[in-house]
């Protein structure tokens, strides 16, 4: 260590070797950590170029699918009686071509997107919303455990198809039927997910502190719990959307989906399937849109889940 000891070459002003004033505020000043949960989450989320591209694309598709029906004059249900308008290949006039009844597939695709999105949003809202409330009640009442776990087992162990087909048979096919049949099952999966999360933060010291202060349950939920799991709520909702759209297509495929005249992505894919060998574009183009939407939402949801984990905040 001798080598590190330097001799002072130049003399210092003796006035410097007197008492300096003590500044309390200066001593308390810390390196204010520049960490903010949301800023870091968003930064991590948008670090990937793919995510930026997909989010922009989804925003554009969403916007378009709600604007198109308002600005376009093409009627997606208009059937042509003239056979030369049937099964047209994609062209400038009909970017996605026409189907066997001469309806414009491009226009139908936007209407379908809108309807499928609306259905998916409703399902996501009810699944995550009901699931969260049920999960919170479940997480706070351990007595519910035996009942809820059995309910969860029963509902998730019956293959969803059987269940959905049954429900769809009982009721007439409509948006409402589809909504009920999907929403009646999805919430319990979400409830269990949120129950586990809430269980892990329920006994965190700050929640116990709130209980010691006599904070009512409702305020603990709105001020302590929900802000902690809001990123999970967003993630679950994002992942619910592709799942709902996919289920709708599947139900259409087994024949218990929407009524034939409803324009949804599921119906379009199924109708295109009939003429797939002759006119493959009638199925492939709606399917491509469908794939793009579901894959994009899955990736966005998963990337957001990663980004919202503080361990990934660098």
């Amino acid at each position: 260590m001798q080598s590190t000891i330097k001799t002072i070459a130049r003399a210092h002003d003796p006035a410097l070797f007197t008492r300096a004033d003590f500044d309390q505020a200066e001593s308390e000043r810390i390196g204010v950590s520049n960490y903010s949960y949301w800023r870091s989450t968003l930064r991590t989320f948008f670090r990937s170029k793919l995510v930026i591209l997909l989010v922009a694309l989804m925003a554009a598709i969403l916007l378009m699918s709600f604007l198109y029906p308002m600005i376009s004059r093409i009627d997606p249900t208009k059937v042509s009686t003239r056979s030369r308008n049937w099964n047209l290949r994609p062209s400038w006039e009909h970017p996605f071509g026409t189907d066997t009844l001469g309806r414009d597939i491009f226009a139908r695709a936007w209407y379908g997107c809108r309807n499928s999105f609306l259905l998916a949003f409703c399902i996501a809202l009810s699944d995550v919303g009901i699931g969260m409330i049920a999960g919170a009640v479940w997480g706070y009442n351990r007595k519910l455990d035996p009942f809820m776990i059995e309910l969860y087992n029963i509902m998730t162990n019956i293959p969803s198809t059987v269940y959905l087909v049954l429900l769809a048979y009982i009721m007439n096919t409509s948006y409402l039927t589809l909504f009920i049949s999907m929403a009646s099952r999805g919430w319990i999966v979400e409830a269990r997910f949120f129950r586990n999360r809430i269980l892990s933060i329920r006994d965190a010291e700050y929640n116990i502190a709130s209980r010691c202060l006599g904070t009512p349950m409702l305020r603990i939920a709105t001020r302590n719990i929900i802000p902690q799991i809001i990123s999970l709520i967003i993630m679950e909702a994002a992942l619910c959307i592709p799942y709902s759209i996919g289920s709708e297509v599947f139900l259409g495929f087994v024949g218990v989906g929407m009524p034939v005249d409803a324009i949804t992505l599921g119906n379009m894919v199924n109708q295109g399937r009939a003429s797939f060998t002759l006119h493959p574009y009638q199925m492939l183009l709606p399917t491509a849109v469908l794939c793009l939407i579901t894959v994009a939402f899955y990736i966005i949801g998963n990337r957001f889940a990663d980004a919202s984990d503080p361990r990934n905040h660098l």
């Binding site: 260590m1 001798q2 590190t4 000891i5 330097k6 002072i8 003399a11 210092h12 003796p14 006035a15 410097l16 070797f17 007197t18 008492r19 300096a20 003590f22 500044d23 309390q24 505020a25 200066e26 001593s27 308390e28 000043r29 810390i30 390196g31 204010v32 950590s33 520049n34 960490y35 903010s36 949960y37 870091s40 930064r43 965190a204 010291e205 700050y206 116990i208 502190a209 709130s210 209980r211 010691c212 202060l213 006599g214 904070t215 009512p216 305020r219 001020r223 302590n224 802000p227 902690q228 905040h313 660098l314």
Partner: protein, 664 residues
């Protein structure tokens, strides 16, 4: 002249380590140098964020991805390791020549593989031995680190080991390759005091036997006094003082080292403020000018803010980076020494708490708390009874899992249904169904301060809301202006300014967060406060601040504390009486000085002997008592006996007689 025992092994010179953190550059190590000689223990002391872990991690090339060694050199046997580019080069050193033991043993062990195989694997990998040979060697190693019945233990999973045993296994793993240097990064911080003492002894024995060098990182000066030959004090990414352990403890020169040693609660005089270091450690994001400690140093000189002090040597083995040692500062230095001497001679301890007139505020009668663990029932607290008198501080001391926190939470009515016995506050039973109004009143009268300042504040709420939470719940304010005024007053009382109100908790340091937590509880104007290890998660330099604050508030507001702690050394300064708890049962209860001068129960003796004391001379000669409880019914046959006036102990009648005989 070389005052070291062996040749130089590792020499770190002017190491600068930088991290990229969320777009900003942080200089964690600002030019630190350290030499490690064969067969010696050098302890690096510093608070969290001082860079002691980062510095030693760079010795084995294990910096996090966003960090890098910017400049300086790391010479190991003359080879500069900063030049290493490939992982393969590091692999020749890491684990084999320089091994590391971390704080939490669970992070270094694979929970789904048996312990023996994990160690054997290291031997097979590094020495290319057959599985049978490696296994034989592993059993030998386990025996060496003091694990009984190593053949059996070989086949067990980490989950079947206790915390201390796990750390022993990790040490066995680290010394499997007979490293030349063993880096111990706070290896005992997560352990109980009694286990800590044993693990420290193990490390010392192994070092002597294997002629290893040990680099010991810790924030606990008591531990340093126990293990270190040499001490390096680190502050804000620099080593500011270095010397032999005795020199650092008996003749510290840097103001930071001096302040650290003076602020230890072990050295406090009852009834007086502890010497406390002001403020919080500096930000390493900004460039630090002059002496990094100057803003917190009450006696800083003007030059400390202007220019960084060079290392001045005190003796051939001791140097410090402080301007106080410059010849120009001689006059100022003498002035300081004179004032220190005056200040320390003036203090006489205050009179002990008078129990003659005291009335009990809280009575706990035969309290039991059980938890369901799967199908079995675990009794966390078993028939505990004690009174707390108005105005006193009763400390509850025990190791982790002893049920001390459970008692605190039961008193605060956090549990429901699993509490048996009676808790009486101001003469009324409170562990029963109370009307909403009564419960609310109770919530105002009893408050709790929590252990972990990081976990006890909701980090999605602003400080303003956190502190006013209780006010909102009981509408303890007239209007918005009144509420803000109350919050502001409370903040001032805990030494924070009102502009902190609009910030989020993550913008504060640990000590500041703990003070916010204290403000949150005390704004309710309670009579009684449960303080659940309020200082154990804090840095050494911050602890004294919080202890002083708690003491001051107690005097100003006439508070009564139930103080929960795991370490006897820290509670001596604050408590009037101490209760020692072991596995859910109280084993001894006595007035503070009485307990220290006349411990009766063997567990209390073990705790007292294990608590590290910050003086190398004391530590080197201490004898550790190990408490081995007898199994079975013998423990339950004991009763709560007053062996001496106001000195209770859990013992059989014969034992109590013996205690009386021994101590008279």
């Amino acid at each position: 002249m070389n005052e070291h025992k062996g040749p130089l092994l590792l020499s770190a010179k002017d190491v600068v380590i930088k991290f990229n953190l969320r777009g900003q550059e942080l200089t964690a190590i600002r030019g630190a140098s350290l030499d490690v000689y064969q067969g010696e223990t050098v302890a690096i002391v510093g608070e969290s964020g001082s860079g002691k872990s980062v510095f030693t991690k760079s010795f084995i090339g294990m910096l996090d991805q966003n960090g890098r060694v910017e400049s300086g050199s790391l010479l190991f046997h003359g080879e500069d390791m900063t030049k290493y580019s490939a992982e393969a080069q590091w692999l020749k050193v890491r684990g084999k020549k320089i091994a590391m033991v971390f704080q939490d043993p669970m992070t270094s062990l694979n929970p789904v593989r048996v312990i023996g195989e994990q160690i054997a694997e290291v031997i097979m990998w590094h020495f290319h031995k057959s599985h049978d040979e490696a296994k034989k060697e592993t059993v030998e190693l386990l025996r060496k680190v003091g694990i009984e019945d190593p053949e059996q233990r070989y086949r067990q999973y980490p989950g079947e080991f206790s915390g201390g045993m796990r750390q022993r296994a990790v040490i066995a793993c680290a010394i499997a390759c007979r490293p030349e240097i063993l880096i111990c990064d706070e290896p005992t911080t997560a352990l109980d005091v009694t286990v800590q003492a044993q693990v420290l002894n193990l490390i010392k024995d192994l070092q002597r036997e294997m002629k290893m060098s040990v680099v010991f990182i810790t924030h606990d000066l008591g531990v340093v006094a126990n293990v270190a030959d040499w001490v390096a004090v680190m502050y804000a990414g620099k080593i500011i003082e270095y010397g032999e352990a005795g020199e650092i403890f008996h003749q510290p020169e840097h103001p930071y080292t001096k302040a650290l040693l003076r602020s230890l609660p072990q050295l406090g005089v009852k009834g007086h403020d502890l010497y406390a270091i002001q403020g919080t450690p500096p930000s390493l994001f900004k460039e630090i000018r002059g002496d990094a400690f100057a803003p917190r140093n009450m006696d800083a000189m003007k030059i400390d803010f202007e220019e960084e002090p060079p290392a001045f040597s005190v003796s051939p083995t001791h140097w410090a980076k402080t301007w106080l040692l410059a010849p120009e500062a001689e006059a100022y230095r003498q002035d300081l020494a004179r004032r220190d001497a005056e200040a320390s001679s003036a203090q006489t301890p205050s009179a002990p708490f008078d129990y003659g007139k005291a009335e009990p505020l809280l009575s706990v009668k035969n309290l039991s708390v059980h938890f369901k663990l799967g199908s079995s029932r675990v009794k966390a607290v078993d028939g505990v009874s004690f009174d707390i008198y108005k105005g006193e501080t009763l400390s509850l001391v025990g190791e982790s899992g002893s049920g001390k926190t459970t008692i605190g939470r039961a008193v605060m009515s956090i549990y429901s249904g699993n509490v048996e016995g009676g808790i009486y506050f101001k003469g009324r039973k409170i562990n029963q169904k109370l009307s909403k109004k009564d419960r609310g009143k109770l919530r105002m009268e009893m408050q709790m301060i929590f252990q972990d300042p990081m976990a006890s504040l909701n980090d999605r709420a602003k400080v303003d809301y956190i502190i006013s939470e209780g006010l909102y719940n009981f509408h303890l304010f007239e209007n918005e202006g009144d509420r803000l005024a109350k919050v502001e007053k409370m903040l001032r009382e805990v030494g924070l300014t009102s502009d902190f109100m609009t910030r989020f908790p993550h913008e504060f340091s640990g000590g500041q967060r703990q003070r916010i937590g204290i403000a949150r509880s005390l704004i309710m104007n309670p009579d009684f406060v449960v303080a659940d290890e309020p200082i154990s998660a804090l840095d050494v330099s911050i602890r004294a601040q919080v202890i002083n604050l708690l003491n001051r508030l107690k005097q100003e507001r006439g508070l009564t504390y139930l103080f929960i702690a795991h370490d006897l050394s820290a509670v001596r300064f604050i408590s009037d009486r101490i209760a020692v708890i072991y596995r859910g049962r109280l084993v001894e209860l006595a007035a503070c000085e009485e307990l220290f001068s006349r411990p009766l129960h063997p567990y209390t003796k073990a705790l007292l002997s294990a608590a590290p004391y910050p003086d190398p001379d004391v530590e080197k000669n201490k004898v550790i008592h190990i408490y081995r409880p007898e199994a079975g019914d013998a423990a339950t046959a004991r009763e709560w006996i007053e062996a001496f006036p106001f000195h209770f102990v859990l013992a059989t009648r014969e034992e109590a007689e013996e205690y009386r005989r021994e101590n008279n």
